[in-house]
């Protein structure tokens, strides 16, 4: 898992999503297969111009179906999709010309060379050959040295790069990455994130589907969660981070309390389990929150609570709290801290449905 400081995403050029127009509008999109399976249930979604949107969902949630309908691979049963104002069915040429798609499956024309297959993609989208652009794309994906290689000779990671190069060959305004980092090594994942960032800087809108939470955290401006064919949440990542940032310190008391003592009233403390447990809720984002994501979210242990990524500042405030608790004569036998991760929020959302 890649490490990120809490405000790294803020340091990047932010997309003004509030004022930007939407580049994709999905209205009441539904897909029922002949078998009766409902892959999508009247989905409404807007993607803002220039943003990185991460679509999270468990396997079979409808991520790929949604992307496939937008890109023209699957026919919708109901609803419509507008790509920059162009209906993707009635005005498919204008709509599709704006889109580049990197599919989930590693598909390739085994006996073609890298150069030819990327050039083919450009032609397919109606563009004249442009060596300089293909060269730029191949170089940015570290494929230049492999340009004369047949695809069959490439490793899985390299094939993934080729698929990205193919999607970028026609200079799309919108790029779909369907599970781009499934089964790729850390180096390639970093490279890809780098490419995605550069594309975003150029104004390309990026929609990526993933079931790796950390990928969404690392990259996205907004996060959407899809489950069983329904969008269950769409939120700015920063807002979601604040939600996930809340952390709880739980103290198991030696003797139950009837109420929180007035001396501790200025702390956000609550009592639970018939007064046997004292719960302190605080903002973990001050503690380097997101970097803990994906790791164990519960830190047990009777007295130690300094996790590896906690900064010293909150520990002072917690030790102050503990001192104050001590001063009121309250004794505790154990303590725990717990942080709700995006993964937990996600699992909760998915479980509820």
């Amino acid at each position: 898992m890649s490490h990120q400081t809490p405000n790294a995403s803020e340091s990047q050029p932010r997309v003004e999503t509030s004022s930007a127009s939407s580049v994709i509008e999905i209205q009441g999109l539904a897909k029922r297969y002949d078998s009766g399976f409902e892959a999508l249930k009247r989905v409404d979604l807007e993607i803002q111009r220039g943003e990185i949107f991460a679509l999270l969902g468990p396997n079979g949630a409808g991520k790929t179906t949604l992307i496939s309908i937008i890109c023209g691979l699957v026919n919708a049963t109901e609803g419509r999709v507008l790509i920059d104002g162009h209906d993707n069915v009635t005005d498919y040429r204008a709509a599709r010309a704006k889109i580049g798609l990197v599919p989930q499956e590693l598909t390739s024309d085994a006996f073609e060379t890298v150069w030819n297959t990327v050039s083919f993609s450009r032609g397919l989208f109606g563009h004249k050959a442009k060596r300089s652009h293909i060269e730029d794309v191949l170089k940015s994906l570290s494929l230049w040295d492999k340009r004369k290689n047949k695809l069959i000779t490439l490793s899985g990671g390299m094939k993934r790069r080729v698929l990205i190069a193919k999607a970028l060959a026609h200079e799309p305004e919108i790029l779909f990455l369907d599970e781009p980092t499934a089964g790729v090594d850390v180096e390639l994942r970093r490279d890809m994130w780098e490419v995605v960032r550069k594309l975003r800087e150029r104004g390309v809108t990026i929609i990526l589907t993933t079931h790796y939470i950390e990928e969404a955290e690392e990259m996205a401006d907004r996060i959407g969660v899809i489950n069983r064919g329904e969008i269950v949440l769409v939120r700015e990542k920063a807002a979601l981070m604040r939600q996930l940032g809340s952390k709880q310190l739980t103290l198991q008391l030696q003797k139950p309390l009837a109420s929180v003592p007035p001396a501790l009233a200025h702390y956000p403390l609550t009592l639970a389990e018939d007064g046997n447990v004292l719960v302190y809720t605080y903002d973990a984002s001050e503690m380097g929150g997101p970097s803990e994501m994906g790791g164990p979210s519960e830190m047990g242990g009777p007295s130690e609570m300094d996790g590896p990524s906690e900064s010293s500042e909150p520990r002072v405030s917690i030790s102050t709290l503990l001192n104050d608790i001590e001063a009121t004569g309250i004794r505790f036998k154990d303590l725990q801290t717990k942080q709700s991760s995006l993964e937990e929020i996600f699992v909760d959302l998915v479980k509820e449905r």
């Binding site: 890109c71 691979l73 026919n75 599709r96 390739s108 032609g123 397919l124 109606g126």
Partner: protein, 253 residues
């Protein structure tokens, strides 16, 4: 019209033939030469002339037709089946390209390949027999229309097939028997009367007969019927292809 895309698909398919030159061109030419040796030289020497044409020369149009039909079908069916099989079809389906343009690219390339092959076999035939072509324009028209029509049929088979077995099934069980029984190696009036009637239900008879007419001016059935039959084939294939794209059959679920 997205001509760049048509060109991209067409060139891609032609390049595929270039990579498999042995399989695409040399192998059909060799097998046709073997037909000439076996049917033309060995058996032909014991068969009288057919309607004033030596047997060796008589079978040339039929042999070209045989190759044209089988190669058009196999080329075009493989051309569209393979991207479906490997999954690369996603790119064609997501491109700003119309159905007509997709067909033009794939079927155009397959038809070109089989037409070139047909001409190559014709050239090979001149090494074995004396040939004269009475109606060269009609000969080329038949050649091209048949190549296009059966490439369309191949395209349909390639979309319908969901396994390599099915891909081989139609050519093996339908096309080859119909072609062999379609008068490639004999004139229909060489058959008993009952089979003459039955054989008229074989559409390939009309193609072979018309093609032979363009060479020697002799035919089993009226040339108008032959031209009409090619037209009907073409229309039916086009109708099926347009239905496939309209419904998304096996391409866009």
């Amino acid at each position: 019209m997205n001509l760049q895309a048509v060109r991209a698909i067409y060139c891609f398919e032609m390049a595929r033939a270039g990579r498999t030159l042995l399989q695409s061109l040399v192998s059909p030419v060799i097998s046709t030469s073997l037909y000439f040796v076996v049917f033309g030289a060995a058996i032909g020497s014991r068969i009288q002339e057919v309607e004033g044409v030596s047997y060796g020369a008589f079978i040339v149009p039929g042999l070209i037709m045989l190759m044209l039909l089988t190669q058009s079908v196999s080329n075009a069916s493989f051309g569209i089946f393979f991207p479906k099989f490997t999954g690369t079809i996603y790119e064609v389906l997501s491109a700003p390209i119309s159905y007509f343009e997709i067909v033009l690219g794939y079927v155009g390339a397959a038809a070109t390949k089989s037409a070139v092959l047909g001409l190559l076999i014709l050239a090979t035939a001149t090494f074995f027999v004396d040939l004269h072509i009475l109606h060269p324009f009609m000969m080329l028209l038949f050649l091209l229309l048949t190549a296009v029509t059966f490439s369309l049929l191949g395209f349909i088979i390639g979309i319908w097939a969901d396994s390599f077995e099915k891909l081989q099934l139609v050519p093996l069980l339908i096309i080859t028997p119909l072609t062999f029984l379609g008068g490639s190696f004999y004139a229909i009036d060489m058959l008993p009367p009952f089979w003459q009637t039955v054989t008229l239900a074989n559409p390939v008879v009309y193609l072979v007969s018309g093609f032979r007419w363009s060479f020697y001016g002799i035919s089993d059935v009226n040339i108008v019927a032959s031209v009409a039959m090619v037209g009907v084939f073409l229309a039916v294939s086009l109708a099926v292809v347009s239905w496939i794209f309209r419904t998304g059959y096996r391409l866009r679920p």
